[in-house]
C-alpha cells in the first residue's frame, strides 16, 4: 500500500511536469495573448513579463506554479487578468455534479443489469442486453445528448433544457439529463464487466455448496456471488472514471451548462495557458485520486489482493 501511495505521488508530480512542458511548447507568445492585439511599447511588455513571471526561467516558473497550487492559487489568466481560481470556482459544482451523478446512475443501472444478464445467460434477454450494450458503447456522449434533446423536443416542445437554478433541487434537475446521457456508455461498459464476472462466480464450487445447503437464491446471489464479482467491477469503474470526467466536457457543451469543460476548451483555443494547465491539473488530480482510492479500497475489501 505504501508503494501505491508513493507511486501516486511520483506520477502526480510527473504529470504536472508533463502538463507544464506541453503547454509551454505552444508557439503563441504569452505577451501577445495578454495584450490581445492592443498597441504597446517595450515598457508595458517588460511590465507584463514581470507581472506574469515570464522573465524568470522555466524551472522558476514551474516551482512558482506548483507552490501556488499547494496554496490553492492556480495562477492568473492571460486574457482576463484574474486569478484562475476565481474564474473556475463557480464552475466546479456543475462538472463535479455531472460526474458524480452519472457515476451513481451508472452503478445503480449497470450492476443490476449485469447480474440479471448473467442469471439469464444465453437467453434472448441476455442477447438483447448485450445488443443494447454494443450500441451504447458506440455512441459518444455528445451524440447521446443531442439525440436526447431532439427526442424530448419532439415529444414535449416546451421542456426546459436551459434556465437558471437557485435551489439545490433545481440544480439536480438541471444536471439530471446531461448526467443520464453521459452515463450510457459507462453503463454499457460496467454492466458487461459485471455480467462476465458474475458468470464466473455463478459457476464456482462455493455456489453449489451454498445452494445445496439450502440458502435462498437471493442470499446466494447477493451475499456470496456478488461479493466476489464486485471487485473487478470497482477496478473498471476507477479506470473508466476518466471517461466521465472528459465526457462531462462534451455533454455540458450540448446542454449549455457552465462547467469546467467550456473554460478549458475556450482557453485551449485562445492559448490562455494558466487556465489550461490549472484546469487540466485539477482534472488529472481528481482522476488519479479516484483510481488510487479505489485501488486501496479493494485491497481493504479483499485482503487476498496485494498491491504491487
Amino acid at each position: 500500500m505504501a508503494d501505491r501511495i508513493l507511486q501516486y505521488i511520483v506520477v502526480l508530480i510527473a504529470s504536472s511536469a508533463v502538463i507544464f512542458i506541453l503547454v509551454r511548447m505552444n508557439p503563441a507568445d504569452p505577451v501577445a495573448v495578454i495584450l490581445g492585439g492592443r498597441q504597446t511599447n517595450p515598457q508595458t511588455v517588460a511590465n507584463i513579463r514581470r507581472e506574469f513571471n515570464l522573465d524568470k526561467s522555466y524551472f522558476e516558473q514551474y516551482r512558482a506554479w506548483i507552490g501556488g497550487i499547494l496554496r490553492g492559487d492556480f495562477g492568473v489568466s492571460f486574457r482576463y487578468r484574474r486569478p484562475v481560481t476565481a474564474l473556475v470556482k463557480d464552475r466546479v459544482p456543475v462538472t463535479a455534479g455531472i460526474v458524480i451523478m452519472s457515476a451513481v446512475i451508472s452503478v445503480l443501472v449497470a450492476i443490476p443489469t449485469g447480474i440479471f444478464a448473467a442469471l439469464k445467460r444465453n437467453t434472448w434477454i441476455d442477447t438483447g442486453i448485450s445488443l443494447i450494450q454494443l450500441l451504447l458503447v458506440a455512441c459518444p456522449p455528445f451524440l447521446t445528448s443531442i439525440l436526447m434533446i431532439w427526442a424530448i423536443t419532439a415529444v414535449a416542445p416546451t421542456f426546459p433544457f436551459v434556465g437558471s437554478y437557485d435551489t439545490f433541487w433545481q440544480f439536480l434537475r438541471r444536471i439530471f439529463l446531461p448526467s443520464l446521457a453521459l452515463s450510457f456508455s459507462m453503463i454499457a461498459l460496467t454492466s458487461r464487466v459485471t455480467r462476465s464476472c458474475m458468470m464466473d462466480q455463478l459457476q464456482a464450487n462455493y455456489r453449489t455448496v451454498a445452494v445445496s445447503k439450502g440458502l435462498p437464491p437471493s442470499a446466494v446471489i447477493f451475499r456470496h456471488c456478488l461479493k466476489n464479482a464486485i471487485i473487478p467491477v470497482i477496478t473498471v469503474l476507477g479506470s473508466q472514471s476518466g471517461i466521465l470526467i472528459v465526457g462531462s466536457v462534451l455533454v455540458e457543451k450540448v446542454f449549455s451548462l457552465a462547467g469546467l469543460g467550456s473554460v478549458l476548451i475556450d482557453a485551449i483555443k485562445a492559448s490562455d495557458y494558466p487556465i489550461v494547465q490549472g484546469v487540466t491539473m485539477l482534472l488529472v488530480f481528481v482522476f488519479m485520486t479516484i483510481s488510487a482510492i479505489l485501488d486501496i479500497a479493494y485491497c481493504v475489501i479483499d485482503p487476498r489482493i496485494r498491491l504491487t
Binding site: V11, V23, N26, L134, I146, I149, W150, L250, V284, F287
Partner: protein, 281 residues
C-alpha cells in the same frame, strides 16, 4: 452472421471513402443559400445543412477523413507502441521499468484530456489531433504487446532461435512478433473504433477537423443546433459513427473468438461417424 454483416459494412465504408468523388452528387463545400436546411428531396437525398451544402455528399467525403484519421491514430500508436512493448518485454530490466513508468504517467490522464493538452501545445487541426491521439493510445498497445512477449519469450522456439545464433533483433521481430500479431490485430481493430469516437469528440469540440472540411464529428458540431429543422444534419453523421464503431467492435470480437481455440465450437460428431465406420470394416 453478425461478423459477415459487419465486415460487409466496413468494406462498404472503405469503398465509399475511396470513391467519394465518384459517388457524391455535389461539391461537399459548395454553399447554396437558396437551399438552406432543405428536407430530403430527389436532388439532395439527405437534405442540406444550414449553409445549403448537400449532406449526402458531405457524408461521403467525411467518411474519407474520418476513416483515414482513425487509421492514422492506430498506425502511429502501433509504430511506437509495438516496438517499445516488444523491447520492454524481451529485455526487461531498466529499460522495461523506465518505459512502464512513462506509460503510467500517460495513463494518469483521462485519454482525451491528454489529447486536448497536446492540441493546446501544437495547435488545432486534424493532423495534430491524430498525432495526439496516436501518442495517447501508445501505452495500452505497448502494455498488451509486453504482456504477450513475456509469455512468448520463455517458449522453446525462442530458445531454439537463440541457440542457432539469431540476433536479438531477429528473434524479436521475426520470431516473437508473428506469434503475437493476431492478438494485436484484434486490439488494433477495436482501437480504430475508439479512435473514430475520440476524433469525433475532438472535432465536436472544435479541436480536431476545422471547418469547412467535412468530417462526421465536425458535421455533428455544425448541425446539431439546427437539428429540429432538418434532423439529417446530425442524424446522418451520428448514425454513420455509431454503425462504424459497432461494426468494428463486432468484427474485432468475432476475429478474437475465431482465433481463440478455447471458444471454438467442436465440429459435429456426425462428421467423424463415417471415417470411424470405415475403419471398422
Amino acid at each position: 452472421m453478425p461478423l459477415a454483416v459487419s465486415l460487409l459494412f466496413l468494406v462498404g465504408v472503405i469503398i465509399i471513402a475511396v470513391f467519394a468523388e465518384k459517388l457524391a452528387t455535389h461539391d461537399p463545400n459548395r454553399l447554396d443559400v437558396t437551399h438552406r436546411l432543405d428536407a430530403p428531396s430527389h436532388e439532395h437525398p439527405l437534405g442540406t445543412d444550414k449553409t445549403g451544402r448537400d449532406i449526402y455528399s458531405r457524408l461521403l467525403h467525411g467518411s474519407r477523413i474520418t476513416i483515414l484519421s482513425a487509421f492514422g491514430v492506430v498506425l502511429i500508436s502501433a509504430l511506437i507502441g509495438i516496438p517499445l512493448g516488444i523491447a520492454a518485454g524481451y529485455f526487461g530490466g531498466l529499460a522495461d521499468k523506465v518505459f512502464m513508468r512513462m506509460f503510467d504517467v500517460i495513463l494518469a490522464f483521462p485519454s482525451l484530456l491528454l489529447a486536448f493538452v497536446f492540441v493546446a501545445a501544437f495547435g488545432r487541426g486534424i493532423t495534430n489531433a491524430v498525432l495526439a491521439l496516436g501518442i495517447v493510445y501508445v501505452p495500452m498497445l505497448a502494455r498488451l504487446t509486453r504482456s504477450l512477449v513475456l509469455v512468448e519469450k520463455n517458449k522453446a522456439y525462442v530458445e531454439a532461435a537463440r541457440s542457432i545464433g539469431y540476433s536479438n533483433a531477429h528473434i524479436m521481430m521475426a520470431e516473437i512478433l508473428p506469434n503475437c500479431v493476431d492478438t494485436l490485430a484484434v486490439q488494433m481493430t477495436l482501437d480504430i473504433g475508439y479512435a473514430v469516437l475520440d476524433l469525433a469528440s475532438m472535432s465536436f469540440l472544435g479541436l480536431g477537423v476545422q471547418p469547412p472540411t467535412p468530417d462526421w464529428g465536425a458535421m455533428l458540431e455544425d448541425g446539431w443546433i439546427v437539428m429540429t429543422s432538418n434532423p439529417f444534419v446530425a442524424l446522418a453523421p451520428g448514425t454513420m459513427i455509431v454503425m462504424t464503431v459497432v461494426a468494428l467492435n463486432i468484427f474485432g470480437d468475432g476475429v478474437r473468438s475465431y482465433l481463440d481455440p478455447a471458444q471454438k465450437k467442436l465440429p459435429s460428431i456426425r462428421k467423424y461417424r463415417r471415417p470411424v465406420r470405415d475403419l471398422r470394416k
